[in-house]
Amino acid sequence: MKSTVKKSLPDKLFMAINSLLMLCIVAVMLYPFWYICVGSVSSIGHIFKGGFLVWPDGFSTTAYEHVLSNSRIPRAFFNSIFITVVGTLISMILTTIGAYVLSKPYLPGRTGMTMFVVITMLFSGGLIPFYLTVNWLGLIDTIWSLIIPSAISTYNMIVMRNFFMAVPRSLEESAQIDGARHFRTLLQIYLPLSKAVIATVTLFYAVGYWNSFFNAIIFLNKPDYQPIQVILREILLMSRTDILQAQDMSKNVPTETVKMALVVVTVAPIATIYPFLQKYFVKGVMIGSVKG
């Protein structure tokens, strides 16, 4: 290339083709969700006609009315929100404190404790002992069985611990000289410096709590505290033709449009919040990699 003007043409071409390719990939990935949004406001016949659904045939909100009037669903929603908010709060408090303590090199028995903690990350006692423990604690059929037994994720705690270890000791020492005890040091020195890792770990926990269903299935016998994910699974997966027929169901099976509306109602909150937290997520993934 001889002049700068000519140089930019292949660049422009590259940008153009690249963008086009990316747009195609985005379209392919977004289409299933678009299909569901369209399907939830169409009529059944429109969905079963098959083929690509680009636009709905009319705009009917009956499916949404059905979903929102079903008393189980708003309640399950509330349960999910409660579990996510309270669970994340509890988890964050416990994880932060645990990470702070494990990050201090002068902690007696630190290596032993860390090893103890890491072992639980690698091995698990199994489902029956877990259930027996929760049963013995009297948590069966309460909403706390979904929060307390799995409050601390060892992986997240290790990530936070590593981050805290990277904070210069001199800061801590100077705080000590000024008369701060550990708790104050944690609150006023470490936490303000750790905004990125706190946002990341909070997000990890929040998404984990929002998506959890297995603990709910195992520990809850009554539908009072079921999170929305359990209802979703039941309605979407368990009402498939082949599973139903074994039960001679003569009741009203939720129709396709209702199922689609249910999916939209469940995914919408997370989908709206996520873009705002995304920058923390991206930053957070790189947290443990580069120092300084």
């Binding site: 028995g109 103890f116 599973i243 009741k251």
Partner: protein, 532 residues
């Protein structure tokens, strides 16, 4: 340094000591604890006659039902009624997602539900380990239970272990499958519902090649299916079904390697090769099949009886094919005149009472009531007087008869009244399918046609053994794989003998022999297997 060592030692001791403490419970071993008979025979046999005079103390009964239903506003009246009239406070757990795991956790934590409504195979597993109460002597005192079972003597053996009865079977009819055709296509082409193999082949050909929907495009198939759905009718035409065991003359033969099964596959392959069968039938999911039906691409299918009216009720057939109509056919006869739809297991579920349940007499009374004429109806339809009314022993009004599903007082039934139902009375069941709405009419037709169909039965239906449980999953996988290979032509039928040999090598004969032992024991027979 020394301080560190001591501190570390203390930390380790603390850690180890906390792992050692905890409940001293025989968690995983409780299954081998008390033999069931000792706890239940000490229960006094109740005086059923007394109960109607005194008001009953309410007792709480924990129930576990394998069901995808959930309690709702239309099942609450039933619950209140049972509490008021029978003094039973039902503490119900309805589970279907991962239910086997959940049930096993309940059992291992010593919380066996007082009443369990579970599948026969899971029931048998726990019954063998003593989880349930021995009902052999107790049942005699409950007239409805006795009547229910005396009409189905053979079924008792399905819920007995070592001659002792541990559960009450929930029975249903064995005929559940139908073949459905596009009636408008038959009329357009001047064909009648096929009864013989030749007629069936001709209908398939015409549906595919003669443009039955008159749109000038060759876009139709004679027959459609979805993965996992059975080729039941074809098996019946030749007398051999995969994974079934058939009585052929004096001996019992293994369906999966039988001549009948081979011929059924060969016939299906013939239709498939000629293009009469939708090529995606073997792999697509049920949702895709319904879409094709709605698009008017499929002319017939073999399905569960309720799919006949479900096509209209749930899958929008009426909207997408406004000029279309469906009609049921009977099982098509094969070349030797044999026919049949495959029979389903008449024991759909089993109701068992936990070995340490309190108030077994009250629980059995409750179950006895459920099998009575009125109890069955209340459990299914809802409270009498509101959801249904009787007139001289006949069902007079039922909310499903109304196209808006209204109760007597005009409330629309949006929920589900069958939530707690555990037993089916096949003699009463059809009455709920009467009525004039299109869905009701089709439902009744579908049910009665399926029930009255000729059936191809499995001699070893519901029997299980250790060998069966160990080896059958792999064998089933092999059979399913080979079936597709045979149909697609990837494997030639000339190699049938090596397929049969591999089946036997995987343990197929062992499984059959072990089931034969169970069969002879359970039904008190002296059958033998064919030569292999």
């Amino acid at each position: 340094m020394k301080k560190r060592m001591i501190a570390m030692l203390l930390a380790c001791i603390l850690a180890v000591s906390t792992t050692a403490c905890g409940r001293e419970e025989s968690s995983a071993d409780n299954k081998t604890s008390d033999s069931p008979s000792s706890s239940s025979s000490s229960e006094a046999v109740s005086d059923v006659n007394d109960e109607s005079e005194e008001p009953l103390d309410p007792i709480t009964v924990s129930m576990f039902l394998v069901s995808g239903r959930f309690e709702n506003e239309d099942s609450d009246p039933t619950k209140q009624y049972i509490l008021a009239e029978l003094g039973i406070d039902m503490d119900v757990t309805l589970s279907i997602d991962n239910w086997e795991q959940k049930y096993s956790l309940l059992v291992s934590s010593q919380n066996i539900p007082s009443i369990s409504y579970i599948t026969p195979s899971v029931f048998y597993e726990y019954a063998e380990q003593g989880a349930y109460a021995d009902l052999t002597d107790l049942i005699r005192n409950y007239p409805n239970i006795v009547k229910y079972i005396s009409e189905n003597e053979a079924m008792w053996s399905r819920v007995s272990v070592d001659g002792k009865i541990y559960g009450i079977p929930s029975l249903n009819t064995a005929g559940k499958w139908n073949i459905t055709y596009r009636q408008d296509w038959l009329e357009n082409l001047g064909l009648s519902i096929p009864e013989t193999m030749e007629e069936f082949t001709e209908v398939m050909r015409a549906f595919t090649e003669d443009d039955p929907d008159g749109n000038g495009v060759k876009d139709t198939y004679g027959f459609g299916n979805w993965d996992g759905n059975t080729l039941g009718m074809f098996y019946g035409m030749f007398g051999g079904a995969s994974e079934y065991y058939h009585l052929n003359g004096d001996t019992i033969e293994i369906g999966s390697i039988s001549e009948g099964y081979k011929n059924a596959l060969m016939y299906y392959k013939e239709l498939y090769d000629k293009g009469y069968v939708d090529p995606e039938s073997l792999t697509q999911k049920s949702e895709q099949f319904w879409q094709k039906l709605a698009q008017g691409k499929v002319g017939s299918w073999v399905g569960w009886w309720s799919q006949y009216h479900a096509a209209y009720q749930d899958y929008g057939f009426g909207e997408t094919q406004p000029d279309g109509s469906l009609v049921l056919g009977g099982a098509v006869k094969g070349p030797s005149g044999m026919s049949g739809m495959i029979a389903s297991d008449p024991v759909t579920n089993v109701v068992a009472i936990s070995y340490n349940a309190e108030n077994i007499d009250r629980i059995l009374e409750f179950i006895d009531w459920q099998l009575s004429d009125i109890g069955y109806r209340v459990m299914r339809y809802g409270v009498e007087g509101e959801y249904f009314t009787m007139n001289g022993g006949q069902l007079d009004y039922f909310y499903r008869y109304d196209s808006d599903m209204k109760t007597v007082s005009g409330k629309v039934v949006d929920g589900d009244t069958e939530v707690f139902m555990m037993f089916n009375r096949t003699d009463i069941y059809p009455e709920q399918l009467l009525g004039d709405t299109q869905v009701q009419v089709m439902a009744y037709e579908g049910y009665s046609t399926a029930r009255d169909n000729v059936l191809l039965t499995n001699e070893f239906q519901g029997l299980t053994s250790e060998v069966f449980q160990n080896k059958m999953p792999d064998i089933t996988k092999y059979v399913d794989e080979m079936r597709i290979r045979f149909i697609l032509g990837n494997e030639s039928f000339d190699n049938w003998d090596s397929y049969a040999a591999e089946y036997i090598r995987l343990g197929g004969l062992e499984v059959a022999e072990s089931l034969l032992v169970e069969y002879n024991e359970t039904y008190d027979k002296n059958a033998t297997l064919a030569e292999y």
